[in-house]
C-alpha cells in the first residue's frame, strides 16, 4: 500500500554510527523504528547521528521518538546529532519548539 515505506540504513565507522532514515516515519513505522534504535541508543560509547535527508514525512509520533532518543542520550551524557533536516521537517521542529533541542545549529 505504501508510497514512501519507511526504512533505515546504518553506516558505522569505528565509534561513529550514522542512521539514515528513508520514507515516512509515521504511526505505522513507529514501533519498528523504536525497536531498531533501542540497542543503538543504549550504547553510550557510540557517537550517534541521525541523517534525515531522505525522510519524506514525520508527525508527532516520529517527533516523540526523536525526543525520547534525545532524552536518553542526554541522561547518559552520550553524543547525539540530527543532520540534513529537510525544510518541511525543520518547519515542524520550529513550530513545536523542539529545534533548540534537536537541531540547535540549523
Amino acid at each position: 500500500m505504501s508510497g514512501n515505506k519507511f526504512s533505515v540504513t546504518t553506516q558505522q565507522d569505528n565509534d561513529k554510527v550514522v542512521v539514515q532514515l528513508q520514507g515516512d516515519l509515521d504511526l505505522a513505522a513507529a514501533k519498528e523504528f523504536r525497536a531498531f534504535m533501542g540497542p543503538i541508543v543504549d550504547d553510550a560509547a557510540i557517537d550517534l547521528a541521525l541523517d534525515l535527508e531522505q525522510l519524506t514525512y514525520i508527525d508527532s509520533t516520529g517527533i516523540g521518538i526523536l525526543i525520547s532518543i534525545l532524552k536518553m542520550r542526554h541522561e547518559q551524557q552520550a553524543s547525539f546529532t540530527i543532520v540534513n533536516v529537510p525544510p518541511h521537517v525543520q518547519k515542524l521542529f520550529d513550530m513545536t519548539g523542539i529545534s533548540k533541542f534537536l537541531t540547535p545549529n540549523a
Binding site: M1, S2, G3, D24, D26, L27, A28, A30, Y57, D59, S60, T61, I63, G64, I65, I67, S68, L70, K71, H74, H88, L92, M95, T96, G97, I98, F101
Partner: protein
C-alpha cells in the same frame, strides 16, 4: 465558471489501524493538488489529517474493528476535512486544553503527548474538536488557498 463552484464531497472510510493512515494522506494529496494547493500547504495538511487519524487509531476504540471516516469538502478556494470515529475513550477537552508547544520548556519538561493537537491548530486555518462521551470524536479542519489569483 460558476457551475464549478459547487461544493464537492469525497468520503473515505478506513479501518482504525496505523497502516491505513497513509491512505488518508494519499487521498488528501490527490484532492488538494487538484485545486491548486502548493507542495508546502499539502505537506502541512498531510500532517494535520494524520494527527487526527492517529488519535482515532490510538485512543478511540478499545477493541479491533473500529473505523475512521473522513469527509473532504472541496471548494475552488478551500478544503474542509472532517475526521470522525465512533469510539468511546477519547477525552478531547483534556487533550486540547494545553496547546502551547514546547517553546518555553526545558528538555526535562517535554512530553510527546498532546503535540498532535498543537500541530493541527498550527498547520490549519481552522480546527474544531467535538467529543461526545461514548459516541466518538469529530475533528473538523479547514484550509484556504493562500494564492487569491484569478481563476481561468
Amino acid at each position: 465558471m460558476d457551475k464549478e463552484r459547487a461544493l464537492k464531497r469525497v468520503k473515505l472510510a478506513l479501518p482504525a489501524q496505523a497502516e491505513y493512515v497513509e491512505l488518508a494522506r494519499l487521498a488528501l494529496y490527490g484532492i488538494a493538488s487538484r485545486i491548486g494547493f502548493s507542495y508546502e500547504e499539502i505537506e502541512d495538511m498531510k500532517v494535520a489529517i494524520s494527527e487526527a487519524c492517529n488519535n482515532a487509531v490510538l485512543y478511540a476504540y478499545d477493541s479491533p474493528g473500529g473505523m475512521v471516516e473522513i469527509l473532504f469538502e472541496v471548494n475552488d478556494d478551500e478544503i474542509g476535512i472532517t475526521i470522525q470515529d465512533e469510539g468511546s475513550s477519547f477525552d478531547a477537552e483534556r487533550k486540547t486544553s494545553s496547546l502551547a508547544g514546547w517553546h518555553e520548556k526545558s528538555l526535562d519538561e517535554v512530553q510527546a503527548g498532546g503535540l498532535g493537537f498543537y500541530l493541527m491548530q498550527a498547520l490549519m486555518d481552522e480546527v474544531e474538536v467535538m467529543s461526545v462521551e461514548g459516541r466518538g470524536t469529530v475533528v473538523k479542519m479547514k484550509k484556504r488557498l493562500q494564492t487569491s489569483g484569478e481563476l481561468i
